[in-house]
C-alpha cells in the first residue's frame, strides 16, 4: 500500500479540535466494558470524539470495534461505563430516540420498500408533513445520484447503488452522529475509492460527526481525522493517521498498520537527543536521533518501515544503521519493487524501493549480495 501520499482531512484552517487541550468532546466514552458470558468484547475503553471528526475504529475481526459501534447506536448496552453524546448520557436512551444514525455493513435496506420509501422511513417516524418528507428524500437521493432509481426495489440495484441508498437513508434524518459499519467493505476497488472521496466531501459539507468501523487500514488512513486502533477489546492507540503509521506506540500497531521490520536489541546508550541499540542482526549499532527514556540494557524492539530502508550493492559509508545480506525474493510492482533480504544473521527483512528511474542497467535480482542502510530518524523504538 502507498501511505506516503495520503494526509488527514482537516477541514478547518485552525488547529483541529482534538489537538486542543481544553476542547469539549462531542462523544465521550468513559471506561466502557462489554462482556458476553465469559467473553470480554470491549475492555475498559475510554475515548473522546470531537465535533466534525471522522473517527475510524480500526481492528481485526473480534477486536471489539463493532460492539463499540453498536453500543453507540444503542443496540447493545454496556456492562459498565457510560456513553455521553452531545452532553446527554445515553445509558437509558433507546436506539429510536438517539440523535444517531447508522449505516449497516449489510446495508439493511428494507426489501419490501422502494428506494424512496426506504429513505423516507426515518422521516415518517418523525411525523414530518408529507410534502417535507418528499422534498428531503428527493434532495438526498439527488445528492447521492440515485434520484433516477427512486422507485426501484433494493433487489433491483447493484452493490454500489445499494450502498448509496443506505448512505442516503442514514443521512436524511440529519443525525448529529453518523455511524458507519464497514461502509466500503462490499465494494470493488474503484467504487471504494470514489466512495471514500464522496464520504469525505459529505462530511465536509454536512458537518456531521462520523464514526467509521473498518478492518481496512488503507480505508482508515484515507478517511480518518483520527484512528483508534483496537485489539482484544482495547484501544491500543488513538492518533492521527500519519502518527499511527510513523510513530506506532506498540508492536501490535506497528505490525497491523502496513508492513514493518522488527529488530530486537538492547539499549546501550540513551541520551536526551540520541540513543543507540545493540542488535545482532545489523552490522553496527542502531542509532537514533532522539532519546527513548529507557533503562540501560533494556530489551526493546526497533521498527523500521520497508520503504525507509535503502538497498545497494555497495556498503554505505557509515557503520551504524546498516546491515547486509542476500536477496531471496524480488517482486516488481511497476511503481515500486519489493525485496526480501536474508541478513547475515539469518533474519528476513522486507524493503520497498520506488522505481523512480527506468532500468538503470543492472537491476538487483535474486542471490545478489546487498547492503541496507537507513537514517537515524527512520526507526521507532517499541518498549511494550
Amino acid at each position: 500500500m502507498s501511505v506516503s501520499s495520503v494526509s488527514p482531512i482537516v477541514t478547518t484552517q485552525t488547529m483541529p479540535t482534538w489537538r486542543q487541550k481544553d476542547a469539549e468532546p462531542f462523544v465521550r466514552i468513559e471506561q466502557i466494558n462489554k462482556t458476553f458470558g465469559d467473553f470480554t468484547a470491549v475492555n475498559n475503553v475510554s475515548l473522546d470524539i470531537y465535533k466534525n471528526e471522522l473517527f475510524c475504529l480500526l481492528g481485526g475481526s473480534g477486536s471489539g470495534k463493532s460492539t463499540l459501534l453498536r453500543m453507540l447506536a444503542g443496540f447493545e448496552s454496556p456492562t459498565s461505563g457510560s456513553i455521553i453524546i452531545d452532553g446527554v448520557d445515553m445509558s437509558n436512551v433507546p436506539p429510536w430516540e438517539r440523535p444517531v444514525n447508522m449505516m449497516f455493513q449489510s446495508y439493511a435496506l428494507f426489501p419490501h420498500l422502494t428506494v424512496e420509501a426506504n429513505v423516507a422511513f426515518g422521516l415518517k417516524r418523525e411525523g414530518l408533513p408529507s410534502r417535507e418528507v418528499k422534498q428531503r428524500v428527493a434532495d438526498i437521493l439527488e445528492m447521492v445520484q440515485m434520484g433516477h432509481l427512486a422507485r426501484r426495489k433494493p433487489h433491483m440495484l447493484s452493490g454500489g447503488q445499494r450502498q448509496r441508498v443506505a448512505l442516503a437513508r442514514s443521512l436524511v434524518k440529519r443525525p448529529k452522529l453518523l455511524l458507519l459499519d464497514e461502509p466500503l467493505g462490499a465494494l470493488d476497488k474503484k467504487l471504494r475509492e470514489e466512495t471514500q472521496f464522496e464520504l469525505m466531501r459529505l462530511q465536509d459539507e454536512l458537518g456531521i460527526t462520523f464514526v467509521v468501523v473498518t478492518h481496512d487500514q488503507e480505508e482508515a488512513m484515507t478517511l480518518a481525522t483520527r484512528i483508534g486502533v483496537m485489539n482484544n477489546g482495547e484501544i491500543v492507540q488513538t492518533a492521527e493517521p500519519h502518527e499511527v503509521y510513523e510513530y506506532p506506540n506498540n508492536r501490535f500497531v506497528a505490525e497491523f498498520i502496513g508492513n514493518v521490520n522488527l529488530f530486537r536489541g538492547t539499549v546501550v546508550s540513551d541520551e536526551r537527543d540520541s540513543a543507540a541499540i545493540q542488535c545482532d542482526d545489523t552490522n553496527g549499532l542502531i542509532a537514533l536521533d532522539h532519546g527513548i527514556s529507557c533503562a540501560p540494557n533494556q530489551l526493546v524492539n526497533v521498527a523500521i518501515r520497508p520503504e525507509k530502508m535503502r538497498i545497494a550493492r555497495e556498503p554505505s559509508s557509515a557503520q551504524n544503521n546498516s546491515a547486509e545480506g542476500v536477496i531471496t525474493e524480488v517482486a516488481y510492482m511497476g511503481s515500486q519493487s519489493i525485496y526480501k533480504v536474508r541478513l547475515l544473521s539469518g533474519k528476513e527483512v522486507r524493503i520497498t524501493q520506488p522505481n523512480s528511474h527506468r532500468d538503470t542497467g543492472e537491476r538487483l535480482t535474486w542471490d545478489d549480495h546487498v547492503y541496507l542502510s537507513w537514517d537515524a530518524d527512520s526507526s521507532v523504538v517499541l518498549t511494550s
Binding site: A73, G74, F75, P94, P95, W96, E97, V100, N101, M102, F104, S106, A108, L109, F110, P111, H112, F121, G122, R125, E126, R169, S170, K173
Partner: protein, 310 residues
Amino acid sequence: MINASTNTTQLTLLQRLQTIRLGRWFVILMPMLWLAAFFFIPFLVVFKISLSEAMIAVPPYSPLLEWDPNNAYATLKVTFGNYLFLFESRFYLDAYLSSLRIAAVSTFFTLIIGFPIAYLIARSGSMARTILLSLVILPFWTSFLLRVYAWMSLLKKNGLVNDTLMSLGLIDQPLQILQTDVAVYIGIVYTYLPFMILPLYTTLEKMDMSLIEAAKDLGAKPWRAFCSVTLPLAKPGIIAGCLLVFIPAVGEFVIPSLLGGSDTLMIGRVLWDEFFLNRDWPLASAVAIIMLIVLVGPIMFMRNGNKEAL
C-alpha cells in the same frame, strides 16, 4: 463429403435436443400423472355422480349413460337437481357459511397464537431451536383421534379445565365447553397450530435481524418496527400458514363431530351424513363440488397477495 458431415452433426444435435426434451417432459410428467390419478380423475368421478339421481341400487345412483340394447342407442341422463336442491335449501347454505366462519375464526386464532411461537423459535439459538421445533412436531407422533379424545376429557364438565377453574374460584358452576363451538375452535386451533408455525418459522428465520435494528435506528419504536418491517416480510409465511389451516378446517369432520354440539353445523358433517346416513351419493357429491368451488376463491385471492409480497 462436407454435406454428409454437417448432416451427421445436425442429426446428433437434433437427437440431443430430443433427449433433453424427453428428460424435461419426464420431470413434468410424473407430478402430472400423480395429479391426474389422485385428483383429476376422482374429481371427474365425483362430478359425474353429482349429475345423477339417487336410487336404491348398487352403486346407489342412476347411470349417466343408459344403454338401450333393443334399439342400440344410449341416452345421456343428466340432472342438475342436486345443485338446485342445495341452493333451495337454507340448511346447506347455513352449513357452508358456518364452516367458513368457524374456519376463519380458527385460522385467526391459530395465527395469533402461532406467530409469537414461530418468532421465538426463529430467534432462539440453534440448540433451543431444534428442541422447540421438535416439540411443535411431537404431537404428530400420537394419533390425531387420540388427541381429540384427550380434549374431550379435558373439556368435559368434570374435566381438568373445569376442575382447575373451579378450584381457583373463578367459576361456581362447571362451564359447558364440550359440545359447543368453543370446543370446536379449541380443537381446530390445537390440531392445526403446527401447520401455522412451520411456514411462519421458515420465513421469520430467513429474515435479517439487522432490518429490525435499522428500523429502530431510524426512529421506529419496537411495535412500529414490527408492523412496518417484520409483518410485511413475514407475509408469505402468514399466507401459506393461513391457507394450510383454513382449507382443511373448512372441510373438517372429526373435530366438529367429537367436540361440537348437535347445532355445530359444518359442511364436512353434512357431507358425511348425506353419504353414509342418507346414502344420497349424488347430493353428497354436489356438496363436495360446491365446497371445492367455494375454496378456490380464497386460494386464488391469497395466491395473488403472495405474488405481490414477493
